[in-house]
């Protein structure tokens, strides 16, 4: 009883579908479980959870994943009781359901990887599920073992009397088909009793008038015959007796034998085909409900499409450039108009294609209520999570990469952001903490806020710690915002530091790194005693980038437009050389460190002095501004990002590459790594490259 006699190719395909489906069901399951509250009967929620578990069980059964079936069966049984109100969703049941969801997910993972789960895995949760059912009417019915096959060979034949009720026809069963089926079991002699058939005038179309007496010669057991009539056993009179006995029991009158012909049974089958004049009132609603449909597409196909459209954008830009460079001649402006239209259409096409990969952030947000509940329960705090903007969409890749940092931030907010209940009461605040998680679109970015109403960042303590740890020099006078930024410093990422320093900092540097890898940034705002707000700004897609093309010698580089603050052509007097070969530019009274792209990447024939070229002021994720020295700006362009890592190892200072309109490759500069790169020995030697840290301090003091 399994799908095992499907071909291996089909089976592999079904299995793939199954795991895709499981992934969706498990996300839904987790979300629904997270929304349950003790002592409330959310029937709809429970139904949905039941269906998810049931679907996984059914699929698992088809692939013989017995361990998974067994667990899902127990899980499902408790859910069934809960939705029927036979068991109560109390404080003990809810965590158990949540654990069961985890075990189920883990079991799915195990079988997906082609492994067999340890017998003992999840046994404790299963026992717990079972014990929770004991209160109700008995435990889960055990998964029935496959029925024992074929009892010993039966006698040589059976006499079968089959007398259908009219009920049989109301269930759309058809005696003819059953008799045919019976015939496949052996040799069949059939006698049809037509004696109850009325004359034509008295004939009712939904009545049963015929009955059959049959002799079946077969070596099959009685059960095989009973199985033929399995669906109709309550809708007919049925006698099945071994032939040996039948000899004794002489039938009353031997009816006239007939061959099975459709005419013999056609009478009751005819059903009225009168359509109702008025459409079913609910029919309309049903149609409406089915309008919003969707299809499932493999991600690889979408990616291919995204890629192709990317190529199209590049080709279009290339054509436009060539056209502009060449003499346009007669009718040129019309062609130009055509090119502009093409550019608009291409851009729209690209946006449409990108939209396919977009998914609501709901899939990650949905995990958070449970996280908050668990962490706060562990800490003995009461924390409410409020969410908004769950439907905000962002690229699938971004979603996947966002899950970890967000989990981290929420955990931090509960653990360290929100004070203990006593502290809150002492501070005159509501004893319950609140965390707001929200998402919204701003331009081509998604903004995610994680805001708590906790104690806020204690800047004094934070700074003291930072000085102790040598992250900040003792005589530095950072601004309040700069101090807040310190929580992103790697030095604060140890657990010990966390509890000491008003709580923040557990791996916040890791969070920031993750977000930066997505091309985004993290900001923090905090008010002592009122709370802290983290803002994640992340581009909607990783596939395209608004960039500024800059020239350095013969090379072209792309700077991400989002990082650029302004560009200036500095006067000689604005540039000041510092010890260690570093340069700063004074821009409106503020000193900004200069980084020469030509020196960082070793490009020959670039302008040597900043005042002969341009300084592009860029802002790093931590808010630090640096001046990137380039020869000139070429122009702004949306570029399609091609990964370098797919073909090479990661290249320091370069986040990717793109193809320009002229077909040349341009590298995309990773702003975050620039300072670090500038600090290491340069391909173009500089005088006195030593002690970079002293510069940082010096800069801090100047600023």
């Amino acid at each position: 009883m399994s799908g095992s006699n499907f071909g291996s190719d089909e089976l592999a395909q079904f299995r793939k579908t199954f795991f895709e489906e499981c992934a969706e069901l498990l996300v839904d399951l987790e979300e629904r479980l997270g929304a349950l509250h003790p002592y409330t009967q959310d029937v709809e929620g429970l139904n949905a959870i039941f269906r998810a578990v049931h679907s996984i069980k059914a699929g698992a059964g088809a692939f013989n994943y017995t361990g998974l079936v067994r667990f899902a069966h127990t899980f499902e049984a408790l859910l069934d009781r809960l939705r029927d109100g036979k068991a109560e969703l109390d404080e003990r049941t809810l965590p158990c359901l949540i654990s069961a969801g985890d075990v189920l997910a883990a079991l799915v993972d195990t079988v997906r990887e082609g492994k067999t789960a340890d017998e003992a895995f999840g046994a404790d949760v299963r026992d717990e599920l079972e014990s929770l059912m004991d209160g109700a009417s008995g435990g889960a019915s055990p998964v029935p073992a496959a029925k024992a096959d074929a009892a010993p060979t039966g006698p040589q034949g059976y006499r079968i009397v089959f007398r259908p009720d009219s009920e049989l026809f109301r269930h759309a069963n058809e005696p003819l088909y059953l008799i045919r089926e019976l015939k496949t079991l052996g040799t069949l002699e059939i006698a049809c009793d037509t004696s109850r058939l009325p004359d034509l005038a008295g004939l009712k179309t939904d009545e049963a008038y015929l009955s059959w007496t049959m002799t079946l010669r077969t070596d099959k057991p009685r059960a095989a015959i009973a199985e033929v009539f399995e669906f109709v056993e309550d809708e007919c009179e049925l006698i099945i007796e071994p032939l040996a006995d039948a000899v004794e029991a002489t039938p009353e009158a031997v009816p006239q034998a007939v061959t099975i012909a459709p005419a013999a049974v056609a009478v009751p089958v005819a059903a009225p085909t009168v359509e109702r004049a008025a459409p079913h009132p609910e029919g309309k609603a049903e149609q409406k409900a089915s309008v919003a449909s969707s299809i499932r597409v493999e991600l690889a196909r979408v990616d291919r499409l995204v890629n192709m459209v990317g190529e199209l954008v590049i080709t279009q830009a290339m054509l436009a450039q060539q056209f502009n460079e060449n003499d346009v001649g007669q009718g040129g402006h019309k062609t130009l108009q055509g090119f502009e239209d093409l550019a608009v259409l291409t851009r729209e096409l690209q946006e449409c294609v990108m939209a396919i990969r977009m998914q609501p952030v709901k899939s990650i947000f949905a995990r958070m209520p449970r996280l908050v509940r668990e962490v706060s329960a562990k800490l003995g705090k009461t924390v409410h999570l409020e969410m908004s903007g769950e439907q905000t969409e962002v690229d699938k890749t971004v979603i996947e990469e966002l899950a970890d940092p967000l989990t981290h931030m929420i955990r931090n907010a509960v653990d360290h952001g929100i004070e203990s209940t006593e502290e809150r009461i002492a501070a005159g605040k509501s004893p319950d903490g609140t965390i707001h998680l929200s998402a919204q679109h701003v331009g081509s970015n998604i903004l995610i806020h994680v805001e708590d109403d906790g104690a806020g960042i204690d800047r004094e303590r934070l700074l003291r710690k930072a000085i102790e740890r040598g992250i900040v020099s003792a005589n530095a006078k950072p601004t309040g915002e700069e101090i807040d930024e310190l929580i992103f410093s790697p030095g604060f990422s140890t657990a010990a530091a966390v509890t000491d320093v008003s709580g923040r900092g557990v791996g916040m540097d890791v969070v920031r790194r993750n977000i930066i890898n997505l091309g985004g940034r993290v900001q923090v705002q905090s008010t002592l005693g009122k709370g802290t707000r983290f803002t994640l700004v992340i581009p909607l897609t990783l596939a395209v980038l608004d960039g500024m093309i800059v020239a350095v010698g013969e090379e072209k580089y792309i700077l991400p437009l989002t990082s650029i603050v302004e560009s200036i052509r500095p006067e000689r007097g604005q540039i000041r050389a510092l010890t260690g070969g570093y340069e700063v530019a004074s821009i409106r009274g503020e000193f900004v460190r200069l980084v020469h792209l030509a020196r960082v990447f070793g490009v020959p024939q670039a302008v040597g002095e900043p005042w002969n070229g341009l300084v592009v002021l860029v802002e790093q994720a931590n808010g630090t501004k640096i001046g990137v020295v380039v020869d000139e700006l070429i122009g702004q362009q949306q570029v399609v990002i091609k990964s370098l890592q797919d073909n090479f190892d990661p290249v320091a200072g370069i986040s990717g590459a793109t193809i320009l309109g002229n077909g040349r490759v341009a590298l995309i500069v990773d702003i975050e790594q620039l300072t670090r790169l500038a600090d290491r020995p340069h391909p173009t030697p500089l005088p006195n490259t030593d002690a970079p840290s002293s510069l940082t301090d010096e800069l801090a003091n100047v600023a």
């Binding site: 009883m1 499907f6 059953l178 089926e181 309550d234 085909t273 009168v274 049903e286």
Partner: protein, 122 residues
């Protein structure tokens, strides 16, 4: 003309399996992912057999069976419900609603065809 079978299941895995097996046996197969959509399919044309899951969102299988039976044009359309081995009460509920018979999940392709053959031979 090939007989047309409507398979109703919210699980694509199940729909795929049913559909693949039936198509291989020469049936034409239409799919719907819940009871509501199944009724829409039925409005647009006749089918010779409906195979439906029980647990589905929007409209479950038992309700679907009742609704189909209440429509004169489909009063005599055979309906098989898909149920798990432990689903005795489901079989009973399905039967009471007017289902013709049932198929126990998980099923082997041969078994599915055998059951289909009992109510709607190709």
């Amino acid at each position: 003309m090939a007989k047309r079978i409507l398979t109703v299941d919210d699980s694509k895995t199940m729909r795929d399996m049913v559909s693949y097996t039936l198509k291989g046996a020469g049936f034409e197969v239409v799919e719907a992912e819940d009871g509501v959509r199944a009724l829409t399919v039925l409005q647009s044309g006749k089918v010779d057999l409906i195979i439906t899951d029980i647990n589905m969102p929007n409209m479950d299988g038992v309700t679907l069976v009742k609704r189909v039976r209440s429509q004169p044009s489909h009063a005599a359309t055979p309906i098989l419900i898909l149920t798990t081995e432990s689903g005795e009460d489901k079989k009973a509920a399905g039967k009471a609603a007017g289902a013709t018979g049932w198929i126990v999940k998980p099923f082997a392709p041969d078994k599915l065809l055998q059951v289909v053959n009992k109510v709607c031979p190709a």
